[in-house]
């Protein structure tokens, strides 16, 4: 039974969209992440240069992105909205501009 549940869970997870997001001084790519209400997604965050942060204050998300590692963030959009995100680890002159948006459409 437990094995069956694990398979179902794996199947469910595998159906979720995965979006690759890279961080580098001083930008995220993509800077605008498009999601749809009710469609769970996993963001796979990687750094192309140094340590960065990925903070979405309105979603209570605050993760660090270490070079050479993948940081996964699962989001289940429950309403149409736009959420700002930014780098929360100071990374140099231009850090203040390192930001983007998650846009959830109906």
């Amino acid at each position: 039974m437990r094995w069956m549940f694990a398979l179902l869970l794996a199947a469910a997870v595998s159906k979720e969209n995965v979006i690759q997001v890279t961080a580098e001084r001083f930008k995220f790519t993509p800077a605008v992440i498009q999601l749809k209400v009710g469609e769970p997604v996993v963001l796979e965050l990687t750094s192309l240069d140094r340590k960065h942060g990925f903070q979405v204050p309105d979603l209570k998300i605050d993760e660090t992105i270490e070079p050479g590692k993948v940081t996964r963030v699962r989001i289940v959009p429950d309403k149409a909205a736009t959420y700002d995100f930014h780098c929360s680890v100071f990374c140099g002159s231009g850090h203040e501009e390192m930001a983007g948006q998650i846009v959830v459409s109906p």
Binding site: K51, G53, P57, S88, F90, G92, S93, H95
Partner: protein
């Protein structure tokens, strides 16, 4: 946790653009402010912030001048402050470690002209976050410390050497040990670079574990926090603790979350020093009432001719 108050509720505009903000250390003692006649026990100090020495760019094409102008303006005050405190971002960040140290040496050479013998410094993220405060400590010493001055306890907190904008448990423990001997009604002033409260997390205007420090400080009745980072005046209360942000010496930033991005307010050649300045904080003999006066660098000519109005 928070209680906001509009600035206009407190402020009185004086001549030459000087603005006075009267605030009890306990947050409710403004009725015992005196309007004039300094007493021997009164004293005042000056807060300067965010000079970003080394910055070059359109937000302030004259950035190489404003720190010197601020030093001249402080030296021209009718009375000498007991001390000055710089609340961080003394220099603008650079990846070049040699250049970082050069900027710090240049900053020190400029502020050496201050006629105020007692000076306190602390880092901003531009000074310390890329090397966890190494170059800063070489040039200015400890990044967090405390001192007593004429009956007030001052604590300087470092929320920038960790590039993730945290104080860290060790510093929180240090703060508790530092304050523990003080009586509950002791007047306490905290200096920090970033706001300790969540002013605008989406703009990185917060301290990750600032609520721990605030929760700790709430155990004392007379606490005021002065900080920088946001390049503008801002006044806020968390419980009984007043938090006052300072203007910068390089370029102003927009009001919190008032724009899509926290980009600098565009430079106005007709008013090249608009939004830049420093703050005088006077303390009455009770040590429970602080009086804040904003001095604009835009009024520098008035300062130089002595036509300058103080708030105490």
């Amino acid at each position: 946790m928070t209680e906001s108050r509009g600035r206009r509720e407190f402020m009185q505009l004086l001549g030459l653009g000087g603005v006075v903000f009267a605030s009890g250390l306990a947050g409710s003692c403004t009725n015992i402010l005196r309007k004039g006649g300094a007493q021997e026990d009164d004293f005042f100090f000056v807060q300067l912030s965010d000079s970003h020495w080394g910055f070059k760019g359109p937000p302030n094409p004259e950035a190489a001048n404003t720190l010197r102008q601020a030093v001249a303006a402080v030296n021209a005050l009718p009375a000498t402050p007991d001390f000055v405190v710089f609340t961080g971002d003394l220099t603008h960040t650079t990846d070049d470690e040699a250049e970082r140290r050069k900027r710090m040496r240049e900053f020190k050479a400029i502020v050496a002209d201050l006629k105020v013998p007692l000076q306190y410094y602390m880092p901003g993220e531009h000074d310390a976050s890329l090397d966890q405060g190494k170059a800063y400590q070489e040039n200015f010493g400890a990044t967090h410390y405390s001192f007593d001055h004429k009956g007030i306890h001052f604590a300087v907190l470092d929320n920038v050497s960790d590039p993730a904008a945290a104080l860290g448990d060790d510093q929180i423990d240090w703060l508790l040990a530092d304050l523990k001997p003080l009586r509950p009604e002791a007047p306490i002033v905290v200096f920090t670079h970033r706001p300790l409260f969540d002013l605008a997390p989406a703009w990185d205007w917060a301290t990750k574990d600032g609520s721990k420090a605030i929760d700790l400080l709430q155990h004392w009745k007379n606490v005021t926090v002065f900080y920088g980072h946001i390049h503008q005046e801002h006044h806020f209360k968390t419980g009984e603790i007043a938090h006052h942000a300072a203007t910068s010496l390089v370029f102003p930033l927009p009001a919190p979350m008032s724009k899509p991005k926290r980009a600098p307010v565009p430079w106005d050649p007709a008013h090249p020093r608009r939004g830049l300045g420093f703050r005088e904080i006077s303390v009455d003999e009770s040590r429970l009432v602080l009086k804040l006066k904003q001095d604009s660098l835009e009024n520098l000519a008035a300062v130089q001719t002595g036509a300058y109005e103080t708030g105490f």
